[in-house]
């Protein structure tokens, strides 16, 4: 978090661009002919979601590692490049979780296993277990999530949520939110770009703060304006308050087979990880 204030615009811009980039990557992989891509989105949700939950909550390290292997297998079968996974998921999760669990290596009370040479801090056995648990669990859950997301268009994921009894209103709102996030990102991006091009020299922290909050204010104004206009556009097309979701999903034998397979894996994992 220690970044010079002059870098704030760059950092915000780059996170905008990253978000945009992320979707383009996602669409690329979703178009390939891999295992997950072929499955009905509802089946995917019903298969993968339980695995994520079980991976996150299980008590046995062995089970977590087994699930991680399953996740990698699924990724490979779905033609998700491992390099992408490594860069996007594994590194990020390791950094964040590692950062959190690093100190736990030393602070958790228990039998000391190994001492650091200069500092003399000792890594304890329970500490190591805890750290590995945390990291592996987070990596597995994240891998499953990201593979699912990369292989399925976002709108299909939303529609598939209905099989979990998510209300249609929620699905519609999520769909619109997704759609408008990108519009707002672009608007914010353009706002920053235009300010950046008008700036000579560096702004001090105080001015940057003012600018950032003013930008937030403008964005909010545009947001509220946009919602009013969109509402009118919806009314114009006959919207009277009811929402409907239409999907073109069709299941075939492969879907049922995979559902059964994933279901069995989930049950086994649950049983052994109690």
């Amino acid at each position: 978090m220690s970044v010079k204030s002059r870098g704030v615009i760059e950092r915000s811009l780059s996170s905008f661009v990253d978000a945009l980039q992320h979707t383009f990557d996602a669409e690329e992989i979703a178009k390939k002919r891999g295992l997950l891509q072929r499955l009905d989105p509802r089946v995917k949700i019903l298969s993968i979601l339980p695995l994520i939950v079980i991976a996150a909550l299980t008590r046995r390290l062995r089970v977590v590692i087994a699930l991680f292997a399953v996740a990698i297998a699924v990724a490979l079968l779905s033609k998700v490049p491992l390099g992408t996974l490594a860069k996007r998921v594994w590194l990020a999760v390791l950094t964040f979780t590692g950062f959190i669990s690093g100190p736990a290596l030393f602070l958790t009370p228990g039998r000391a296993m190994y001492s650091l040479p200069i500092l003399g801090w000792s890594v304890t056995a329970p500490g190591l277990r805890a750290a590995v648990y945390l990291v592996m669990r987070a990596e597995t859950a994240a891998t499953f999530s990201v593979v699912l997301i990369l292989c399925t268009p976002w709108s299909n994921i939303l529609k598939a949520l209905r099989v979990l009894r998510a209300p249609a209103v929620l699905v519609v709102i999520l769909g619109m939110t997704y759609r408008y996030i990108f519009l707002l990102l672009r608007t914010a991006h353009d706002m920053f770009e235009s300010r950046k091009s008008r700036m000579v020299g560096q702004l001090e922290g105080r001015e940057l703060r003012k600018m950032a909050t003013a930008s937030a204010g403008v964005l909010m104004s545009k947001t509220l304006q946009l919602s009013g206009d969109v509402y009118l556009a919806m009314r114009s097309r006959g919207f009277q308050g009811e929402v409907y979701v239409l999907d073109e999903f069709q299941t075939d034998w492969l879907d049922w087979l995979m559902l059964a397979l994933f279901g069995s894996i989930a049950l086994l994992a649950f049983w052994f990880g109690r």
């Binding site: 268009p153 769909g175 619109m176 097309r237 009811e242």
Partner: protein
């Protein structure tokens, strides 16, 4: 139907100290193709929104098919249902109109609201996408489309309901020349027959193809009416209503029909 499909009488509309429409009178006959010409801010977009029952005038009245079009009447579900099916508006800003996550969802939105059965929807949507040549964009998200593509999707999502009245707000704005001519072709092809088409634009190239009669707007009033040919030739009028720029030479009368050179200045 004998009388006008839309009858606008002495309509005034004010918004935050700006008078968008000032005592406007207009009658549109069924099947007519009308162009509303005017510079930005002249009130034509506002009129379209009023015709579509989205805004309501502070003074004056609007009648649709001989019956008053009021806020109260539009609150009744049956009337609104019927009205929305018959009258369609294509907004100027496609990002406002395309609010669904994918093109497919966008085009199915109208039919879903009209409660069509699922199979019929799927069939009609396919036909529409083919017709507008956007089948390859079916699963794309709006933010991945070019402006021309967005406008085609907007048009498709509205035409699928086969409305009687088509209101178009600046259909060719911000389009590159190729997309623009494509759009004009589409508009011409879908404005045949019994459809009433009202196009609001400041693009003089467009009106000859999509309209039989034009009204020129200035500061919320109609200041002139005529056929496209008459209007395009009346250079003094075009200058005074800010539809052409003073620097450009106007072509000699008679040279009206489709050739690449423009008559007016485009911003």
């Amino acid at each position: 139907m004998n009388g006008p499909i839309f009858e606008v009488r002495d309509v005034t509309y004010r918004y935050q100290e700006v008078t968008a429409l000032d005592g406007l009178n207009l009658a549109i006959m069924p099947g007519q193709r009308v162009a509303l010409l005017g510079a930005n801010g002249s009130g034509k977009s506002t009129l379209l929104s009023i015709l579509d029952g989205l805004y309501f005038p502070q003074k004056g009245s609007v009648e649709f098919r001989g019956e008053p079009l009021t806020e109260n009447r539009l609150q009744t579900p049956e009337f609104e249902f019927d009205f929305r099916r018959r009258v369609a508006l294509v907004f100027q800003n496609p990002d406002v109109q395309l609010f669904n996550p994918t093109v497919f969802d966008e085009v199915t939105f109208g039919p879903l609201q009209m409660r069509w059965p699922r199979d019929q929807i799927l069939l009609r949507v396919s036909e529409m996408l083919e017709q507008m040549e956007i089948m390859h964009l079916k699963d794309r998200s709006p933010h991945h489309l070019s402006t021309g593509e967005k406008k085609r999707v907007a048009l498709a999502s509205v035409l699928i309901l086969d409305p009687e009245v088509l209101l178009l707000d600046e259909p060719t704005a911000a389009l590159d020349p190729k997309s623009e001519s494509q759009m004009i072709d589409f508009l011409v092809s879908c404005s045949g027959g019994r459809k009433t088409v009202v196009t609001a634009t400041h693009d003089l190239d467009l009106i000859e193809d999509v309209a039989d009669s034009c009204h020129i707007f200035q500061r919320g009033r109609i200041v002139a009416t005529g056929t496209p040919a008459e209007i395009v030739n009346d250079h003094a009028l075009l200058l005074s209503t800010n539809l052409i720029h003073a620097h450009h030479h106007a072509h000699a009368p008679g040279e009206l029909h489709s050739h690449p050179h423009r008559h007016g200045h485009r911003h």
